[in-house]
């Protein structure tokens, strides 16, 4: 008798909990305010702990790396010395080129395309659980002046965009995420294109690039920047370099792959550009 009773209770409990879950799902879709309030509350507790774990992990990694990398460092030093010589030579040539460039710019009255954006440094402290997507959490948020849609860069290349902001943390969606689109522009020819993240390319570290006009002069090795027509991205941020272009079967466009400028495998620190793209419309 007792066993039967227990069984019924378990089934009932299953229904009740199912109801709660479905209600939560409903709330997530219908009342985004409630959802983000819950998430903010959770982040308030979770973020400090994640930050602590991250700091501890970094400390350990530093300690172990110090021993392991001694040999590598010596070898690298040798190589770098050589490199310095090469670069010094190259630099002197480039300085000459720069003077020439400045002169020509003045001649053409071209403005500087890349204004210095105000940025905030952030540490990556957590990643979404599960292996299908690659959004991650950073350790600064609303209190540090972060807002949704701010661009995130690292090492000079585009990493992604802030999607959600909590008190002291924020969620960044990375450009390598599947189904993620950025409008791009070829640096040399100004041709427009679309850059897509694709899970099936993540292992090879590539992005997909599509919608390049067939007649355009984009070629392998060209730099792709964020375009001026993008609604969320500031123009002129480096996304990556083109590899492997092929003509599409529709005979109108070309597509290929892109090597991102950022090393997504070892992403630890990022910069958030604290300026939103001004699209002229009302917010």
């Amino acid at each position: 008798m007792k066993k039967l009773n227990h069984k019924i209770r378990t089934k009932h409990m299953l229904w009740i909990l199912s109801g709660i879950c479905i209600a939560l799902i409903g709330i997530s879709f219908l009342l985004p305010g409630v959802r983000s309030a819950v998430k903010t509350g959770a982040a308030y507790v979770i973020t400090p702990i994640q930050r602590g774990i991250n700091r501890m992990g970094m400390w350990f990694a530093d300690k172990t790396d110090t021993f392991k990398e001694m040999d590598e460092v010596i070898a690298e030093n040798e190589r770098l010395k050589q490199r310095v010589d090469e670069l010094t030579e190259e630099n002197s040539m480039l300085v000459q080129n720069r003077y020439e460039l400045e002169r020509l710019r003045e001649l053409l009255a071209l403005g500087n395309d890349y204004p210095d954006y105000d940025t905030a440094a952030a540490k990556v402290i957590a990643k979404e659980s599960g292996n299908w997507f690659h959004s991650f959490n950073i350790d600064i948020g609303k209190n540090q002046g972060i807002e949704p849609d701010m661009n995130v860069i690292s090492g000079g290349g585009l990493v992604g965009i802030v999607t959600e902001v909590y008190e002291n943390s924020a969620v960044v969606e990375s450009i390598i995420d599947d189904g993620y689109n950025v409008s791009g522009k070829c640096a040399s020819s100004s041709d427009l294109c679309i850059v897509n993240g694709d899970l099936s390319l993540i292992e090879s570290g590539l992005l997909r690039i599509t919608n390049i006009m067939k007649d355009s002069t984009v070629k392998e090795g060209d730099m792709i920047l964020t375009s001026h027509i993008s609604s969320k991205y500031l123009p002129g941020i480096l996304i990556g370099y083109v590899t492997e272009l092929t003509e599409d079967s529709n005979d109108l466009t070309k597509s290929g792959y892109l090597i991102p400028a950022v090393d997504f495998e070892h992403i630890e620190e990022v910069l958030v550009i604290k300026q939103l793209k001004d699209t002229g419309g009302e917010k």
Binding site: H6, M13, L14, L24, G57, E128, S129, W132, N137, F264
Partner: protein, 174 residues
């Protein structure tokens, strides 16, 4: 008396939260891109298998809720999915000896596969990304293997914990 009966739930909640932190903050320290084991699935499946439908259901619900709160966009979705996975794992318990190590591994692998398959259907297939074979080999399979290896090391500990708790609870009833 009451405290004794909720002890199990507190322990399960504690383990789930710990696992969620490991999943989101510790694993990414090693690498950002390679697949990680799925601790939430491991907990849900193992607890369901060794403690039955009821505990599997609760554990799944708690693990899912953690997964929702630590990331993800829709609150309650993982909770619902994990809850049913835990419940189903609990249903299988009746037929198998729990001391055997092979079966839990197969069960966790199957649960992880089921979870990832549902995730694939809802998040990828509906966007016309159909090459499941590719995703299976590069994303799902590594996750399953990592998770299964973890089961191999942790299953005995979970079983011991479960038995100790059971003794403790029975002690409180007499």
């Amino acid at each position: 008396m009451f405290l004794r009966s909720v002890l199990r739930k507190i322990i399960v909640i504690g383990i789930a939260i710990l696992a969620a932190f490991i999943q989101t903050a510790v694993f990414p320290l090693f690498s950002f891109q390679i697949p990680y084991p799925n601790l939430m699935i491991l907990l849900t499946s193992v607890f369901g298998f060794i403690a039955g439908k009821r505990e599997g259901m609760y554990t799944g619900f708690i693990c899912g809720l953690c997964a929702d709160l630590f990331g993800g966009t829709v609150l309650g979705f993982s909770a619902l999915l994990f809850m049913y996975l835990g419940y189903m794992n609990g249903m299988i318990r009746r037929f198998i000896y729990e001391e055997d190590i092979i079966f839990p591994i197969i069960l966790v692998a199957a649960t992880d596969f089921a979870y990832n398959f549902i995730y694939f259907v809802l998040n990828f297939m509906l966007r016309n990304r159909l090459q499941f074979g590719y995703y299976f080999i590069h994303t799902v399979l590594p996750e399953i293997i990592f998770t299964a290896v973890l089961v191999l090391f942790s299953y005995k500990q979970f079983l011991k914990l479960h038995k100790r708790l059971l003794r403790y609870e029975e002690g409180s009833e007499t």
